[in-house]
Amino acid sequence: MESFLGIDHNVWWFLVFGAVISGYAILDGFDLGAGALHLFLKKEQSRRIALNAIGPVWDGNEVWLVIGGGALFAGFPVAYAAIFSAFYVPFFVFLVGLIWRGVAIEFRSKEPGRIWRLTWDFIYSFSCIVIALSLGLMLGNVAQGLPLNEAHDYTGSWTSFFNPFSIMVAVTTLALFMMHGAIFLAMKTENRLYTKLTILAKNFTIFFVMTFAITTVYTLLYVPHLSDCIKSTPVFFVFPLIMMLAIANIPRLLNKGRYRHAFVSSAITIAALLIMVAVEIFPNLLYAVNNPANSITVHNASSSPKTMKILLTIALIGTPLVAIYTSFVFWTFKGKVKLDEMSY
């Protein structure tokens, strides 16, 4: 096993994959949240502003999912094969949700008719909700583990994905994204729409804190293998602590009108949550509930050492490039939304 800075390549790739997924959740998270709360905005002008707030960036944000899929396929092909064939049905629901989200944003503005726009508003918002819920459902099932055979293939049926824990994670994910999306939109809007969004943001923050608390209690009581790691290594309590502080900060920052800091806080919340999940499942990528020996880990699921090296090289070259042009695009569209003739 080759290593770099004392950490072996497989663990590095696990960190890269985790970072890409966190990046996706933070970036597309606000798009999806903005979509999920879309119908809370009543006026045509408000909806257009909300759509144009994410307009220039949502597509680039979705690319993080593509990179994440590629990263998993390349680094941990066994996990890629097992996870996506296991989640066959929910994953296609998720993907079809992504299709409709994209085309709804694109098509809505192409006709001025009221019915046309209302239909697309509904499809847009509904697909964002479905995407958030199905993502959360799959995350919940991955965190909890699945029954796997010796060949690492899933042996259960797709109906068992709808278990209490995963449903709670699904709702928590939706709440989290809605909070995140509302804060993002507040950052991009002015005047009355801004006021409305700060109120929504505070309400969604409360919604999220409630769902998160319930899920946490449930986890401690019924999914012990998930909390064992944090309990046994107290230093990891730093992540839940960071998260709590970040959440507590949000209403305070919004009251002061410091929406940029509020956005950073909710981004930190998402990252801390995912880091907690990663810490809890590591070194597994997919825990086998029937027989822990069948679990898919960063070591038994990985590509060859040579490929891991190639991948880390690609990541080392690619990441700064992506960072440069992503920040360039965000910088170009910084500040409040201004509608013009090229807008949605």
Binding site: N52, G55, P56, D59, G60, E62, V63, L65, V66, I67, G69, G70, A71, F73, A74, G75, P77, V78, Y80, A81, I83, F84, S85, F87, Y88, V89, F91, F92, L95, V96, L98, I99, G102, V103, I105, E106, F107, K110, E111, A151, D153, W158, S303, S304, K306, T307, I310, L311, I314, A315, G318, L321, Y325, V329, T332, F333, D340, E341, M342, S343
Partner: protein, 459 residues
């Protein structure tokens, strides 16, 4: 029906539908770079209107391309889990490179291309257009590399046995530059440029027939015609090189393409024909020994036929491979003839006076689309029964955990969603075309001053 057939049908359907859009994005990307480049150089507002019109069409096409493309990335895992494990070490790095080098570039700058007209200066905007175009070119690179590796594997070794066997990289660059990568990449790029150019010609031919937006339609048509003529001719050479590669590395596929069974005989080249796989005969209009001549410059040289390969190891649908291949070649020839004829008429100053020719061009948008699809069907069906040529059979590549009813569910889902998408796409495209290259802030009359010293604008 069994999972294998269903999964193959689903993959074919989703990839074929997806493949309507990326070639158009790549081709339109090139045309946008040319148009905006002309605007930057001449400062002529006409080019600006042209560019902005095509940016709107580009946005629509790109949007559906991305939406349907994400499906493809995950479909390997959902339906072809064994394949994913087998090729992950190789395919995965190409896919990861595609995501990070190509898609991120493309989608990042797309925001500026679509919405940045008033936010950034003309040079930065042009730079973004170029980056989006490069991004789309790069994404073709990695996916074609991955597919070419499945056709002509190189730079790997096999580790493990039976269901646990998998290919591992031994030489990254040998994998990237496997024997068919470069030829097939050029073939795909040119097919994409033709798709874009014929779309631009089609829309402008329509305006010319309707006598609308003539001041923009004529120069736009000429730009696209130049692109189409150049690449139709280039495709002849690149396509030929690709066929030579197939002859060398995938003889079973080439034999199926020409319906050639007998290894001891010279191979004919058919213009039209029909393969009867039962009697192992191919009948039709042919150049006797034509394929032999093309490959060995000798009409009598024998060419390996399908009979030299065990029935279990050669394509099952020989006639389909034959027909798809011939449709592609015939359309390629037709595009050369059509574009050269149009250039001739341009030279004679009669290009836009021939209404029938404009009508032909209005419909010719379908030609590269059909050729691209047919070419891929020939390439992929000709590779059967292998998913990785000579190494992994398609029937062994499936997901063990996925049941037929699940695939039926997703297949029906895609049929419904994609049919709706296609209808909406055509409706909106039609609407945008009818609306024409008219900007709110830019009045119809054109700037007469700069027309004189510009060959494309003077008509």
């Amino acid at each position: 029906m069994d999972v294998e057939i269903l999964s193959r049908v689903q993959f074919a359907f989703t990839i074929a539908f997806h493949y309507i859009y990326p070639p158009l994005s790549i081709g339109l990307g090139l045309i946008l770079v040319i148009m905006e480049g002309m605007y930057l150089r001449t400062g002529n507002k006409l080019y600006e209107r042209m560019t902005r019109f095509w940016i709107r069409i580009f946005a629509l096409i790109f949007g559906i391309g991305v939406a349907t493309g994400i499906i493809m990335e995950f479909e390997f895992g959902t339906n072809w889990a064994t394949y994913s494990r087998y090729v992950g070490d190789i395919f995965g790095s190409a896919l990861a490179a595609e995501g990070i080098f190509a898609f991120a570039l493309e989608s990042g700058f797309l925001g500026i291309l679509l919405f940045g007209w008033n936010r950034v200066g003309p040079k930065v905007h042009f730079f973004s257009t170029v980056m989006v175009f490069f991004g789309s070119l790069f994404s073709a690179v990695w996916i074609v590399v991955a597919n070419s590796w499945q056709q002509t594997p190189a730079g790997y070794h096999i580790v493990g046995e039976g269901m646990n066997a998998r290919a591992e990289i031994t030489d990254f660059w040998a994998m990237v530059f496997n024997p068919s990568s470069v030829d097939r990449l050029l073939h795909v790029w040119i097919g994409a440029f033709l798709a874009g150019a014929f779309l631009v010609m089609s829309v402008n031919a329509y305006y010319i027939i309707k006598k609308k937006h003539l001041e923009i339609a004529r120069p736009s048509f000429k730009i696209a015609l130049l692109v189409a003529t150049f690449f139709s001719l280039a495709q002849l050479f690149v396509g030929h090189r690709s066929a030579e590669g197939v002859a060398k590395y995938q003889p079973a596929k080439l034999a199926a393409m020409e319906g050639h069974y007998d290894s001891s005989a010279a191979a004919d080249m058919f213009l039209l024909g029909w393969v009867n796989d039962k009697t192992q005969t191919t009948s039709g209009i042919k150049i006797p020994g034509g394929l032999s001549f093309l490959l060995h410059q000798d009409f009598k040289a024998p060419v390996q036929g399908l009979n030299a390969i065990a029935p279990a190891d050669r394509p099952g649908q020989v006639n389909a491979v034959f027909q798809f291949y011939h449709i592609m070649v015939a359309i390629g020839m037709l595009m050369i003839g059509l574009t050269l004829f149009a250039c001739l008429q341009w030279k004679r100053g009669k290009l836009f006076e021939m209404r029938w020719l404009m009508l032909v061009f209005a419909w010719a948008v379908l030609l590269p689309q059909i050729a691209n699809q047919a070419g891929w069907f020939a390439a992929e069906m000709g590779r059967q029964p292998w998913v990785v040529y000579g190494l992994l059979r398609t029937s062994d590549a499936l997901s063990a955990t996925v049941k037929a009813e699940q695939v039926v569910f997703s297949l029906i889902l895609f049929l419904l969603v994609y049919t709706t998408l296609l209808a909406l796409f055509l409706y909106l495209l039609n609407k945008k075309i009818k609306h024409g290259p008219v900007d709110a802030g830019y009045p119809e009359p054109i700037d007469e001053g700069s027309k004189r010293d510009n060959p494309i604008l003077s008509h």
